[in-house]
Symmetry: C3
Subunit: 314 residues, 3 copies
C-alpha cells in the first residue's frame, strides 16, 4: 500500500480487516513502532472525530503529530498546474506537498467537496496533487468524493456486531437542512461491495450515486421495503449527484424512526456522525440499545491506526 | 473525585492542597503516571494560560494532549435535549461527549458565560451535559460561572506566601471596559470560604455576587475600609449579577493603586490575568515586589497537574 | 547565545554552521537532550514551514511542543509601555512573556511587519518586548525585519551545494502582487556578509534595503549583469524600504526564467517559499534539477534544531 486514498489501494480487504481487529483488541501492541516518526494532519475543513482519532492512533503507535489548518494556520494553496500565481493563492500544492514531505513521515489530508462543479470535485485535485508530489504516503481523511477511513471503521463495526455470516446492510438516505457531499455514501458502497454483506441502497428519486459506485448494487426507492429484514441500517444524507450539490428533498418521512426500525430484523443502527438528531434519526433510535454510533466512532482510531501501521511497517 | 467542576467535587480541601504543594515541589515526580493516556482540551473560547499550563501539566505526567477549538477546528454543538436539529448546530453535545470519551482519558472544557441569560448561564448546560454524557472525567477549564483551576492555583499561591496562619484576603472589584463573567470571583469566594483565611469582598453597589457564593461572607462597599489590614489583595472585574451582564460602573477610583496598597498590611497583590494595566491595577502595583501575579499564573500548572494526578491514580 | 533574534546573537558563525551540518547528518543524535523540556511556539501570523519544521526539530530532540495562535487561540497583546489598557488589547506583552516563561523552556515567536509605519516595524516592539520580559530564550520565527532561521537554513544549503570555496551568490528582487516585508532579504544579506561568499544584490531602483543591511554590499540594478557568473540565484520579493511598504514595480521582466539562468555559471536556484510560480520564477526554473527550494525548506528543521540544541545544552 503506497497511499490510502480509496479501496483501490487495498490489495487484500480480508487481511486488512484481520489486522484492524488485532489493533482493536490490543491498541498498544505496537506502541514503539512509530518512534521518531511524525504524522502530519492537514485540514482544509473542520473535523472532530478525524482530528482526535487520528492523533490518538498516532500516539498509540508512539508517533509524534503535527496538525495544520490550511487557510488559517497556513496559506491558501493553488492546485492547478502552470498557473501564473498572481491572485489569491500563495503557494502551489506541489511545493507544499514536497516541503511537508521533508518534515513528516505520513501525511493525512481532509478536503471536502465544493459541491459547485461536479467534474472538478470528482477529479479530486487536492488529494491527487498531494499523492503526485509528496514523497511520503498520503492518507485520505475525507476528500471530495471518498471517506475510506470511515468505511474501514464501518466494516470493523459490522464485523464485530453481525449475527450471521452475510448480514443485510441497508444504506438509507435521510434528510438534512444543508447540502452535503456524497463522500461517505460513495465510500461505504465501495467498501461494502467488497465485503461479505448483502447491500441495498435506498433513497428518493434524484439521489442516485454515481454509477461508478452504485453499479451492481440493489437500489430500492421504497424505504420501508428496503428496511425489511435488514440487519444493519446505515443512515446518511447526501446531496444530489445528478443535479449536482442540490437539495431535492427535505422529506421528513425519510427520517429513521422507531416504526421503521420495527420493519427490520432487529437491525443495528449506524451513522458516521456528526448527526442531526430528529432530522436524520430520532432520539429514540439513536439512543436505543441497537445504536452502534459511539462504538462506530471509536473504531475510527482502529481504522487509521491500522493504515498507519501498514506504512510504518514498510 | 469523579469530575472537577466545582469545589463540591473536592472531598478534603486540605489533602488536595498538600498534594498540590508536592506537585509544586517536584513536578516530574510522576512523569510516567500518564503514559499512553491522553488529555483532550476543548475550547469554546480563547485561552493563553489555561491552554499552555494544561498541556505543560499533562507533559509533566507523561500524557499526550489533543486540543480542539469548537466552532473553528470542529462543529457547533447543540446542548438542548429533544431538539429537531435543523438549524445551526451540527452535532449534539451528548454525542460529542460520548465520542470524545472513546478517544481520550480525561476531558478539559472551557466555555464562557454568554452574559445574556442569567438562568441559562447558571444552569451550566455545556459542562453539565459533558459531565452527564462523557464516560471519562471532566475538568472545568472555566465555565459560565466557575473557574476552579484558578481558585486552586490561588489557594496554593496564598498558602506559599502567607505570613500568618489566617491571613486577611480581600477580593476587590475593579473597573474594566468590557462586560466580564462572574466565574473567577464566584469560584475564588467558594474556595476561600473553605480555606483558612479571613475573607472580605469589596465592590460598588449593584455588583453583589449570587448569594449562593456570597452568603456568610463580609461585603464592604467602602474599598478603602476593606483594604485596611489586608494581607492579600485579589483584584478582578466582573459584570453585575443582579442587572445581569451589565456594566454599572467604570469608576476609575476603584483601580488598585499604590495609595490604596498603603492601607494594607503590606499586602501581596494577586490577579488571575490577563489584566488591563492602569485600568484594573496601576503599573506601580503590579510591577512591585509585592505582586504575585506571575507566580500565581505559574501555579496554574500545579493546579491542573494535581487534578490530573487524581484521575490518573484511580 | 541568550536569544536568537539576529546574527548579532551568533558569536562564531563557522562554529554554528559546523554544528548545523552535524544536525543535518544525524538529526536524532541528541534525541534525549530535550526530555521534559517544552518549546512554546507563538504565531501572530500564518505559517507552514516554520510551524511544521519547528515542531519536527523539537521532536527530534525529545522536546514537547505547545503552539498558540495569538488573536484566535489567545488574546490580542499590548506592546506599548505605560498604556491605560481600556481599548482593544486584553493583555500586555510583558505579562504574557513572563507567564509563558513559567510554562515553557524556549519561546519561538512569529510576528510580521505591519508595513504601515517603518519606524515602528524596525523597532521590533513585539520581539524586543518578549526578549526583555521573558525569562527563557526567545527564538525569532520571522519578525518585522528579520528571519534568521531562514538565513541559517540558506547558509547550510549553500554550504552543502557549492562547487567552489567562495561562490557568487545573487539576491534578486522579483515581482509579487502583494506588499511583502523586507525580513527575508535583510536577514539573508546580514548572514551572507559574514559568510564565505561573494554577495551581489539586484533590484529595480527604489527597492534599496536599509543601509544597515546593504552597506558594503554590491548593488547592481541590471539584473542580467548581476546574474553573470552567479553560482546561486536567490529570488525574493520585498516591498520598498524608502517608500515604505509600497509596491513600486510589478515588472514581469524581473521574473527569474530559463533565459536569465543561462547567464549564470549553471547556478542553483533558491527561494524561501511560499513562492508565486510564474510570477517570482517560472515553472521551468523551479522544477529544474538546479532548483534547491525543497532541500532548502528541509534545512529549516536543521536551523531551528541547531538553535534549540544551543539553548538546551546550556
Amino acid at each position: 500500500m503506497e497511499n490510502f486514498f480509496s479501496i483501490d489501494d487495498v490489495t487484500d480487504l480480508q487481511e486488512l480487516l484481520q489486522k484492524a481487529l488485532k489493533v482493536k483488541a490490543d491498541p498498544l501492541a505496537n506502541s514503539k513502532l512509530g518512534k521518531h516518526r511524525t504524522l502530519g494532519l492537514i485540514f482544509y475543513n473542520s473535523s472532530l472525530r478525524t482530528r482526535i482519532s487520528s492523533q490518538k492512533a498516532a500516539y498509540n503507535l508512539g508517533m509524534d503529530v503535527i496538525t495544520l489548518n490550511i487557510g488559517s494556520d497556513g496559506w491558501a494553496l493553488e492546485s492547478k498546474d502552470g498557473v501564473v500565481m498572481d491572485q489569491g493563492t500563495a503557494e502551489h500544492i506541489k511545493d507544499a506537498a514536497a516541503v511537508i514531505s521533508e518534515y513528516v513521515d505520513v501525511i493525512g489530508i481532509r478536503c471536502f467537496a465544493g459541491l459547485k462543479d461536479r467534474e472538478e470535485d470528482y477529479l479530486e485535485g487536492v488529494l491527487q496533487n498531494f499523492i503526485k508530489h509528496a514523497t511520503v504516503p498520503i492518507i485520505n481523511l475525507e476528500s471530495s468524493t471518498l471517506h475510506p477511513l470511515q468505511s474501514l471503521a464501518d466494516l470493523v463495526t459490522i464485523e464485530t456486531n453481525k449475527n450471521k455470516p452475510k448480514p443485510k446492510v441497508v444504506l438509507t438516505w435521510a434528510p438534512h437542512p444543508r447540502s452535503l457531499p456524497q463522500a461517505v455514501a460513495n465510500s461505504f458502497v465501495e467498501w461494502m461491495k467488497e465485503a461479505d454483506v448483502e447491500l441495498v441502497i435506498t433513497h428518493p428519486k434524484g439521489y442516485d450515486l454515481s454509477s461508478k459506485f452504485s453499479n451492481g448494487v440493489t437500489v430500492e426507492y421504497d424505504q420501508n421495503k428496503a428496511f425489511e429484514g435488514a440487519d444493519f441500517i446505515y443512515a446518511k444524507n447526501w446531496s444530489s449527484y445528478t443535479s449536482y450539490g442540490e437539495i431535492l428533498s427535505k422529506d421528513t418521512a425519510w427520517c429513521v424512526d422507531e416504526s421503521k426500525m420495527q420493519l427490520t430484523n432487529n437491525a443495528k443502527f449506524m451513522h458516521c456522525l456528526p448527526v442531526r438528531r430528529n432530522v436524520i434519526v430520532t432520539d429514540g433510535v439513536i439512543d436505543s440499545e441497537n445504536s452502534l454510533v459511539i462504538e462506530q466512532a471509536g473504531n475510527r482510531v482502529v481504522s487509521i491506526q491500522t493504515v498507519l501501521q501498514e506504512f510504518l511497517s514498510k
